[in-house]
């Protein structure tokens, strides 16, 4: 069994899959569609192709071609191998100005003999007539055309029973040359039929011809300058005027002369007229009592005058035919027995004369020498049951009867059913069906490819449809996401989670009905539009879906929880409004970090608008240095002198003061806070440098570093390949959030870089951290603190007591300073519990050798209480509010404070 595209006819790489090749192809399964990189191409099944060449003609892109032996022949010529050429008579007609020159060129190149192949027609006529003498019942097709033989061998179960077992004229010529002339050269046939090679390789023909060379290919390989000066006249062996009779390959000028004129000799020029009736021809016509005595069927419309390896042009054909007629008319005046006017001479007498004529030099030839055997290559096509065809139609997304009879023929077949059959047989692909592709394009537009449920486009369409019909207010829209996906990814891995999302989507999709719809928005986020009164139950059911991830061979059950935001649309909403409002509610639900459902109200929208505004304004704010550093002094309670300050960021946007309380939480969510922190550190160092240069003695300034820095830290082994080290992107011109991934030493290195850039003594800087509770982050924070201390940079824990695990932190980390959260003082020191707690914290910090700073001190009583309990410094409105750098500079000049009793 040959591989696809290995045979005489093949597809070149420029095939675009237009199916044009199938239009004229007489064999249902000779073309095979394959999909490569998403594109459909057609290749040739070399076992099924009959080599008729119709696809070469019908392919509009020139992507079908044939193989012949021209290059091998020319190589053999270059190697000076012993070669003889048999020339088809049509060559002389087809190229009247060049044929002789080319043949002379071949002779000059070393070809031993050049034979006129037309004489083979006389030989095959003689052999055929001999055969018919022994089979007077007739009913045979002449095996002259290799394509017709291929067709009958491969596609007609009884075809070979009706082929006259005599070689073609070309083969008879070859056999004759070998026997009569003992020509030991490798024989080359020069013709216009690529399929002739099939006969050369057929049983009994082995070793006669070595090369099948076509005119077209040969002409394209030889430069005209190499032969144009050579003479056109050429002397051919076995050249007789009657040879021209056989130039067309048809038998009516040959064997028909020797058959009783009452017997029907059927000539069919053009296989397309025959192939579809071939079975009927074999089963009924040729065997019927009044059927043809002999049939001469040629694949090519113009017989062998213009074969598949020829440029087909009707005008050229007419000229070739005229040339042939002219030569024969002239020759009939000569003595060639085959050309003598035989009107009134009986076929039997003609046969006698032919024999006598031939026997003068064929006395030792035997008709058996020209006898041919045929190969039964007919393969019974599997019958595809209707159930299978129907399943294939479903696979092609043709569900309705009318969809199964579109019959656009774009696939190249006779109709949709044939295409379905071809798909079932494995010779075509649904991607080759225009209807499917249209459906598929639509599906791709409306479907989430991973899960198969509708996508956002589909959701938009459905919502818009309900709005058009003024029914949207009967529905509610939910935006929801699956929870615990991090846990799933870490436990089951990416592939399994994807399978689970698919399973979830399939189950969820089966829960909607009518015009309801559930769509995947992305990753683990979905949108659904459900009848209003069903929404709560629906969400409850969604929250109980069980999926089945596997670990190895073991399957587990995993209950998926969701958080959802719901919006009830009004007729005034746009689709965008509806999705936006559901998403806002969804965002609020997500922040709860537990399974829940929240209904939208307008207050949520305000928060959302603010977030959007701040996020958009951030980039410009960095560039325009809209962030400003304020300093709030810290006063030593023993000396009542300025002992330090906390740098605090302020945002002045278009003259408007934006409170940190508005933007810091937002920037902690989107990660921008990292840029803000480095911006503040940079400005602090810049100011310190200026004050130092001015001869002032600045005190230590603490600057806040958000816990986001710690969340972004990864160990070196976690860092993805190719990621750039260096951690936080401190480029203030960046346009959006980035993933900051660095190691603890790299973060510390960046802090130190900023400090050292301004040549600031390290002891003047203190980094304030807030508490963190996330798994793994405490260890990373401890590492950062250690590294900062190594560099001589102090650290403090900010807002102590406001988090969840402050005491744990003190156990594992060595902060230099503890800052008591202002919340304690807000509660009021009159409360005995508060007093006790503050006192204990101060005592504990002291025991741990930490300095203590109390924030938010506003009253004299608070100051007194704190001083009494041993607190080192206070920070608050009692002494100073946060102030711009210029004002703080004055404090550096006059660092003393006074204690007021109210």
């Amino acid at each position: 069994m040959k591989k696809d595209n290995d045979g005489i006819i093949y597809t070149k790489s420029k095939c675009i899959g237009c199916n044009g090749c199938m239009l004229g192809c007489p064999v249902f399964d000779a073309n095979k569609a394959i999909v490569v990189n998403g594109g459909t191409y057609l290749v040739v099944d070399s076992d099924r192709c009959v080599h008729c060449g119709s696809c070469i003609t019908s392919c509009p892109h020139g992507s079908r071609d044939y193989r012949d032996d021209t290059d091998a022949f020319l190589a053999a010529l270059n190697n000076r191998e012993n070669l003889s050429v048999v020339v088809a008579p049509s060559f002389l007609l087809r190229y009247p100005e060049q044929s002789g020159k080319i043949l002379n060129y071949l002779k000059n190149r070393g070809v031993t003999n050049i034979y006129d192949g037309g004489f083979g027609g006389t030989l095959s006529t003689w052999a055929l007539v001999n055969f018919l003498e022994n089979h007077p019942e007739g009913g045979f097709a002449i095996a002259e055309c290799p394509v017709v033989v291929n067709y009958l061998e491969k596609l007609s179960m009884k075809g070979i029973q009706h082929l006259a077992p005599v070689f073609s004229s070309v083969m008879c010529m070859g056999i004759y040359i070998k026997k009569h002339f003992n020509d030991t050269a490798k024989l080359v046939f020069l013709g216009n039929c690529p399929a002739r090679k099939d006969e050369f390789e057929s049983p009994g023909a082995e070793g006669i011809y070595t090369y099948n060379v076509t005119y077209k290919r040969l002409m394209s390989r030889i430069d005209a300058s190499e032969y144009e000066d050579l003479p056109q006249e050429v002397e051919l062996d076995c050249s007789y005027p009657s040879n021209m009779l056989f130039a067309g390959g048809d038998a009516k000028n040959g064997v028909a002369q020797f058959i009783d004129p009452d017997k029907h000799v059927l000539t069919v020029m053009g296989g397309q007229r025959f192939y579809k009736y071939a079975d009927s021809f074999c089963d009924n016509i040729i065997t019927s009592e009044n059927g043809p005595y002999i049939a001469d069927i040629l694949n090519c419309e113009h017989g062998c005058l213009m074969g598949p390896a020829d440029d087909k042009n009707i005008m050229e054909y007419i000229r070739v035919w005229e040339r042939r007629a002219g030569i024969l008319a002239k020759a009939r005046k000569g003595t060639d027995e085959m050309l003598v006017d035989r009107a009134g001479v009986s076929p039997a007498k003609r046969l006698d004369e032919l024999k006598k004529s031939l026997n003068t030099f064929l006395s030792y030839l035997n008709p058996a020498d020209f006898r041919r055997d045929f190969s039964d290559r007919y393969y019974q096509q599997p019958q595809i049951p209707d159930a299978i065809i129907n399943e294939v139609f479903d696979y092609m997304h043709k569900y309705k009867e009318e969809e199964r009879h579109v019959n656009c023929h774009s696939c190249g077949y006779g109709g949709c059913r044939e295409m379905a059959k071809a798909i079932a047989l494995g010779i075509n692909r649904r991607e080759n069906c225009v209807y499917f592709e249209k459906y598929e394009n639509q599906r791709l537009y409306l479907t989430d490819l991973d899960t198969g449920i509708p996508n956002l486009n589909s959701f938009n369409n459905r919502t818009a449809e309900l709005m058009r019909k003024h029914e949207v207010s009967k529905y509610a829209v939910a935006s929801f996401s699956l929870m615990d996906n991090d846990l799933m990814y870490s436990r089951y891995g990416y592939d399994e989670v994807n399978k689970c999302i698919k399973e979830y989507a399939r189950i969820a999709g089966s829960m909607v009905s009518g015009r309801e719809l559930i769509a995947r928005k992305g990753d683990v986020e979905f949108l659904t539009i459900i009848e209003k009164n069903k929404m709560d139950d629906f969400l409850l059911n969604l929250n109980e879906i069980v999926v089945h991830p596997s670990i190895g061979q073991r399957e587990e059950e995993f209950v998926i929880n969701i958080c959802a935001g719901v919006y009830q649309p009004t007729e005034e909403d746009s689709v965008g409004d509806i999705i936006g409002k559901a998403s806002i509610a969804h965002r609020a639900a997500r922040e709860r970090k537990s399974p829940c459902c929240i209904y939208y109200d307008d207050s949520m929208k305000d928060g959302s608008v603010e977030a959007s505004f701040l996020t958009k304004a951030f980039s410009d704010a960095i560039k325009k240095r809209e962030f400003v550093v304020y300093y709030q002094p810290k006063v030593d309670l023993r000396s009542i002198k300025l002992h330090g300050a906390e740098a605090l960021v302020r945002w002045i946007h278009n003259g408007e003061f934006i409170s940190p309380g508005r933007f810091i939480p937002m920037f902690e969510k989107n990660g921008y806070v990292v840029h803000v922190d480095f911006f503040v550190l940079d400005q602090v160092c810049r100011d310190l440098r200026a004050w130092l240069d001015a001869g002032l003695k600045p005190v230590r300034v603490s600057t806040n570093f958000s816990k986001v820095h710690i969340s972004n830290l990864v160990t070196r082994s976690q860092r993805p390949a190719g990621s750039v080290g260096g951690g936080a992107d401190n480029d203030p011109s960046h346009d959006g959030p980035k993933v900051f991934q660095s190691s603890a030493p790299e973060l510390v290195g960046q802090i130190v870089d900023v400090i050292d850039r301004y040549d600031i003594p390290h002891e003047l800087i203190e980094i304030e951290f807030t508490e963190t509770t996330a798994a793994g982050e405490s260890e990373r924070l401890a590492q950062v603190i250690r590294d900062l201390h190594e560099k001589g940079i102090s650290t403090s824990i900010d807002d102590f007591g406001s988090g969840y695990s402050s005491l744990n932190l003190l156990q594992t980390m060595d902060f230099n300073v503890l800052k008591i959260d202002r919340g304690f003082l807000t509660a009021g020191i009159k409360d005995p519990k508060t007093r006790e707690i503050i006192a204990s914290v101060i005592q504990m910090a002291k025991a741990l050798e930490m300095q203590v700073v109390a924030e938010g001190v506003e009253k004299y009583e608070e100051l007194e209480f704190l001083r009494d309990k041993g607190c080192d410094m206070i920070q608050g409105y009692y002494f100073d509010k946060p102030m711009p750098g210029e004002d703080y500079r004055n404090r550096l000049v006059s660092p003393e404070y006074e204690i007021r009793e109210n």
Binding site: Y378, P382, E391, R430, H548
Partner: protein
């Protein structure tokens, strides 16, 4: 003729002894002989049987194992020979289909001729085809084209080889064929004939679409657009190199309603496709199958047949070679064969490389043909 239904068996490896032992109860030519026998003795046994029953048409099939009712010696199984004689209470007519690789349809007229010799009612067409030519489907197509809409089930088996080798035979009237199919229409004069199949393999979660196939070579190249072997390995959590040794533990199936048609995976091809024991059509949805409860297959068969024919007089079984070897491996052959014997006073069975039912070529299946 005055015989009704005869069965006999022999473990011998000598053809003459086989005939003597297995046909000891055959006092006359029954008219139609069907026998299952190992490859090693098949050719000589075929001659011996033809000589022994000159007035009977004989049909033979090589088998991996034969199953038989052993009367006094208990029920049996093994790479032995079982001979079935269809006598007076049956009308039989059959023949041979040659050239199965290319165009068995050429033999449609012969099938048609045989079909017309038996009544339509209570008739089954038994067919046995030499294995590994990918011809079973073509043979079934051919038989179906002749039977048309008639209410006649087609049931049969690919022939087998006791050494798990690829050479298998069928015979018809003393002629042995290595690439052919025999068919035999059996009409039960005494009552109904029912055919039932049971699967041992059950669907797993994974489903595929066969997107590229060669049905002539029985190869699936792609599942869901991806190289078939790799996709299968992925679903089974094997590395590709590990898959080969596990292939027989799984199968692929096509579900049609509640019916499952199982196909065995023979091997991984060079192109990383899957060579199957039966043809898989392009575009078909396939489910991955794993071995189910092995005893269900038998118990469902017994229950199913009883529901259709409470007391059959004869059961003919076709049990897939892969099921037989599995039962051997787990030491369950005695129980299995005893179970086969519970339905009817006489039974016989064959174990080959595939099963055929109506128009479908299947594997890993137990099939029972019950004669009332």
């Amino acid at each position: 003729m005055s015989v009704d239904l005869l069965t006999g068996y022999s473990y011998s490896e000598d053809p003459q002894t086989i005939v003597r032992e297995a046909a000891s109860g055959f006092t006359e030519d029954p008219g139609t002989i069907l026998y299952f026998s190992p490859v090693s003795v098949f050719e000589k046994l075929t001659q011996a049987i033809s000589l022994r029953f000159p007035n009977s048409r004989t049909y033979g099939v090589s088998t991996y194992y034969s199953f038989f009712e052993g009367r006094n010696n208990g029920n049996g199984y093994g790479p032995g020979t079982v001979i079935i004689g269809f006598g007076d209470s049956f009308d039989c007519s059959g023949g041979v289909i040659e050239d199965i690789k290319m165009h068995p349809v050429e033999f449609a007229p012969a099938i048609d001729k045989a079909l017309h010799k038996v009544p339509e009612e209570n008739t089954v067409c038994l067919t046995f085809t030499t294995a590994f030519y990918g011809a079973e489907e073509l043979v079934l197509d051919t038989i179906a084209s002749v039977i048309g809409n008639r209410d006649i089930h087609v049931a049969g088996s690919s022939s087998g080889n006791e050494k798990w080798e690829r050479t298998t035979f069928v015979s018809y009237n003393g002629r042995v064929f290595s690439s052919a199919s025999i068919f035999l229409f059996v009409h039960n004069r005494n009552g109904r004939i029912e055919v039932l199949k049971q699967d041992m393999f059950v669907p797993m979660r994974a489903e595929f679409r066969a997107t590229s196939v060669d049905i002539r070579k029985h190869i699936i190249y792609e599942l869901d657009g991806k190289p078939a072997a790799a996709e299968l390995a992925k679903q089974l959590h094997f590395e590709l190199y590990e898959l080969n040794e596990h292939l027989h533990d799984y199968g692929l199936g096509r579900k049609v309603g509640k019916t499952l048609y199982t196909t065995d995976i023979l091997k991984i091809t060079r192109e990383k496709g899957l060579e199957m024991l039966a043809a898989v059509y392009g575009g078909m949805k396939l489910c991955l199958l794993e071995r189910g409860k092995y005893d269900k297959c038998l118990s469902n068969m017994v229950a199913g047949i009883r529901k259709k024919i409470p007391a059959p007089r004869f059961m003919l079984y076709v049990n897939c070679i892969s099921l037989t070897t599995y039962y051997q491996n787990i030491g369950w052959m005695d129980i299995f064969t005893a179970g086969l014997g519970t339905l009817a006073p006489a039974f016989a069975g064959i174990s080959g490389y595939g099963e055929q039912l109506d128009r479908v070529n299947i594997n890993k299946t137990l099939m029972g043909i019950a004669f009332e």
